[in-house]
Amino acid sequence: MSEAGTLTETPQQADRAVTIFEKSVPGRRAVQLPPAEVESTPLDQLIPSHLLRETPAELPEVSEPDIIRHYNRISRRNFDLDTGFYPLGSCTMKYNPRLNERVAALPGHARLHPATHPADAQGALELMYLLQESLSEICGLPTVSLQPSAGSQGELAGLLLTRAYHADKGRNPTKVLTPDTAHGTNPASVTMAGYEVVKVATNESGGVDMDDLRSKISEDVACLMLTNPNTLGVFDENIAEMASLVHEAGGLLYYDGANLNAIMGQARPGDMGFDIVHVNLHKSFSQPHGGGGPGAGPIAVSDRVEPFIPRPQVIKTEREGWDAYFDLDYDRPKSVGRMRGFQGNFGVFVRSYAYILSLGGDGLAEASRLAVLNANYLKTRMAEGRAGKYLPVAFDRHCMHEFVLSGAPMKKELGIKTLDLAKRLLDFGFHPPTVYFPLLVDEALMVEPVETEAKEHLDEFADAIEKILEEAESDPGIAQNAPYTTPVRRLDEVGATRRPVIRQPR
């Protein structure tokens, strides 16, 4: 709203947050239910009254038009991938094809009960089987379990497989090696699998420090968990050597596939010697991120790990009267068991399989090549001008699909932190890159431009950074107090943690 013609805040800023509960008016409603069509037996004749609820849950009382207005309105308080450039490192914010939403919504998919008899769900099982086969080829490993719900569940599954693998051999190693650049889910998963995290250092070119690795390898190492290219965007050239070192010591190799988008059709984790790979279907395979899910984290495994994969597994069998019969195989005696209910995030499988069909083998390879080209181009642009001066790249070499800059000089010379830069980018209409990760790099800024972004957008982003740094040279306060144009400005996160208000008071 403007007072007397001057803008004091943006329209969205003026429109203060009101929850759906606060819009409630007693007696309002949206739903009309179908008639029960049966006797209106009092409830306490069906269920003993001491087991019944005494007061109804305080849900909102709102009409249908109110609901749609409420959520449409607050939806516009989100920045989304269809609004603009979203170079969030490690997240592969690639375009989400709407075709995939269309096919996922077909009633044969969307309205299929997970306990449908396999004979009546052949289309779904075949689709899962075909996705397994595709991921197997992409990862270079013979067997795929689609069950895990996301990357981190894939990790945990993989570590439990590792445990089962060793146990089956009568071994009980206790340690898992992870580079210090690893994503937070890796160590968290290691702990949940009952292992101890042992950190491995990073060398000067961004890869694993081989000496440090060698010094830590022992019979007590269950596996090495690696992201390759790693979170610095660097492909570890010593991978073959690492693999043989770990294997020789009896350990397994786990591949965090969050960065698979760099290497599809170029190189395969299986060929690098990995035994277990998880793939984030919500990254390389275009499942929309949904504001934080859903995703899926299938795992691909080598033959020696195969007996232990979660059950049930989709298999192709022969059956009289059928060209091929797809079934759920529960009869896997060495399986670790279930990671979750039913068969996994099937709706995600449909989208990712549609994506694989759309791109094809050629298209996937091309996508990776263009992702890497975009990253290197943007890295080149960031080496120019003020960015080159204040925001040096952490490891100056060709990167893969992403690269990491350090804001340390910027902080020192201009007095603005990476966080300030990120917040100021919001005013320029960009989603900032990932900040303060990997931890190894001081004031890190992790940039992943993905293949679905046009060159213009990369240039605009580089120009915006230049502009912000220029501004900061004359007035660092601009960035320090940014953003100015977003629906809300910087928020008090400390206060939120100190006195948590995490639900609407009654």
């Binding site: 049966v38 609820r53 849950a57 909102p60 959520y71 309205r111 968290a188 279930r338 694989i356 977003t486």
Partner: protein
């Protein structure tokens, strides 16, 4: 290959020139030749959008979906009617395409939804703390166990056999990693056996897991069953079907420390089992041990109300190996669907729906119990699902053809045999508001036929082949006026 990548050959040339390379291959030089693939992927080439659509439409048509035939399948996922506004809202780019709200200034939409969702789940469960959602039901059980172990410093997990078999199996899988032991308490007459339960609980029991209604559909007396466990210092953890919380006493009022469950019945389509979401609520004292994202209310530097991800020091990206959970990407969009559905049902409608389910279920249960060859597996009170025992073997009963070799479809009810060998002769029937009395009558009719071996009765009605399918179609589409 689809037009998702904008780089033209001119763009590519310009970018290569800027980088100072002649070919994109140079960028891949860092990959040692030994591990390079060196051949095209052995996958089909890319297809056009219309071809992909046609292919997947065809595959999908080989699935028997709940629009084609009335489904009485449940077992944790239910064919409720998902109102059209859920799709309208969840399909908006603004909700569909962003990631986790790491930059709260431009994520207020998603964060506010989380805050509202937390409020709604807290209301449903009667517990003050809710997170913004987990993957789905059974893996939430594992999260609850992890919390309980950390909270109590104990390692024993005790679970009723009425807990969903997928939850029990998921718990068992994770227990290996957690270093926990899992003990099961049997059922009797459809309910958790109280005596056996007490016997199973010991000084090292971290948590007791119950389910309400339990897997056989029975309403358990959670407060009574839980008392002993909590008196022994164990946490009481209850898996709940959120739809039944419309009428059942909330776990928070039954002494539960944690209530969690599968969220699919709220605003999520079946999707052959996922994606849906799990919810997770707890007592105040557990707030800093919660798994998953939590949104909190705060203010911006001009004093405007706003929301942020809060209590992040629990989480993996801050705490790494000491995190309370490894979860990162979860199911935000599915939780939004639930919130919209709950707002649509509203305070009154939610209760009415619970009542409708209980009454229609009672009707269906009575009808089937009175059929020759069938009897109830148990007489315990139920809300929306019940178990039936059949004289004729279940697999034969459900395969809607006289000859097991025929490729007829299967009657959509849930056979208990795989999960409960002791109930191999039984199956579950689930009811939703989508299952009209006409549908229930169709089921009754089909069960009668099935009990009689599918043969003769059917030929009574139709003489020119494949009569069951005809009836299926009729039942699902209503009689032609």
């Amino acid at each position: 290959m689809a037009g998702y990548t904008p780089a033209t050959s001119e763009d590519q040339a310009a970018m290569m020139a800027a980088i100072g390379i002649e070919s994109i291959d140079e960028l891949f030089a860092q990959i040692p030749d030994a591990v390079k693939l060196g051949r095209p992927l052995d996958l089909e080439d890319g297809l056009s959008e219309s071809e992909v659509y046609k292919r997947l439409q065809t595959l999908s048509s080989w699935n028997l979906n709940t629009e084609e035939v009335p489904s009485f399948l449940g077992a944790g996922m239910y064919d409720h009617y998902v109102p059209a506004i859920v799709d309208a809202i969840t399909s908006r780019s603004e909700f569909l395409t962003p990631y986790t709200p790491y930059q709260p200034e431009v994520s207020q939409g998603g964060l506010q939804v989380m805050f509202e969702f937390q409020t709604a789940m807290s209301e449903l469960t009667g517990l003050p703390v809710s997170n913004a959602g987990l993957y789905e039901g059974p893996s939430a059980a594992a999260s609850a166990a992890y919390l309980a172990m950390a909270a109590t410093g104990r390692k024993g997990l005790v679970a009723s056999r009425g807990l969903h078999p997928h939850s029990r199996e998921t718990l068992a899988t994770h227990a290996v990693g957690f270093g926990a032991t899992l003990t099961e308490v049997p059922l009797a007459d459809g309910l958790t056996e109280a005596k056996a339960l007490e016997a199973a609980i010991g000084d090292d029991t971290a948590a007791l897991f119950l389910q309400n209604p339990n897997f056989l559909g029975s309403v358990e007396d959670i407060a009574a069953l839980g008392e002993y466990a909590t008196s022994k210092g164990a946490l009481l953890i209850v898996q709940v079907d959120p739809m039944t919380l419309s009428i059942l006493k909330p776990p928070g009022e039954c002494g539960a420390d944690i209530a969690y469950g599968e969220g699919q019945p709220l605003g999520n389509r079946l999707d052959f089992g996922g994606p849906s979401f799990g919810f997770f609520c707890a007592k105040q004292e557990h707030i800093r041990r919660m798994p998953g994202r939590i949104a909190g209310e705060t203010t911006d530097l001009d004093g405007r109300r706003g929301f942020v991800l809060t209590l992040q020091t629990r989480e993996q990206h801050i705490r790494r190996e000491k995190a309370t959970s490894n979860i990162c990407t979860a199911q935000a969009l599915n939780a939004l669907g639930a919130m919209v559905h709950l707002a649509w049902l509203g305070k009154q409608g939610f209760v009415e729906l619970g009542e409708l389910l209980a009454r229609r279920t009672d009707f269906a249960r009575g009808q089937i119990a009175s059929l020759d060859g069938f009897e109830l597996l148990h007489e315990a009170p139920v809300v929306r699902e019940f178990a039936v025992r059949s004289r004729r073997p279940v697999e034969e009963l459900l395969h809607m053809a006289p000859d097991p070799g025929d490729s007829a479809p299967h009657l959509p009810v849930y056979p208990l045999g795989r999960d409960y060998p002791e109930y191999e002769d039984s199956f579950l029937v689930a009811i939703t508001e989508n299952r009209s009395v006409e549908d229930i009558e169709w089921l009754v009719h089909m069960l009668e036929h099935g009990q009689a071996g599918w043969g003769e009765h059917i030929h009574d009605h139709d003489e020119d082949g494949n009569p069951v399918e005809t009836e299926l179609v009729e039942a699902s589409q209503g009689a032609r006026s």
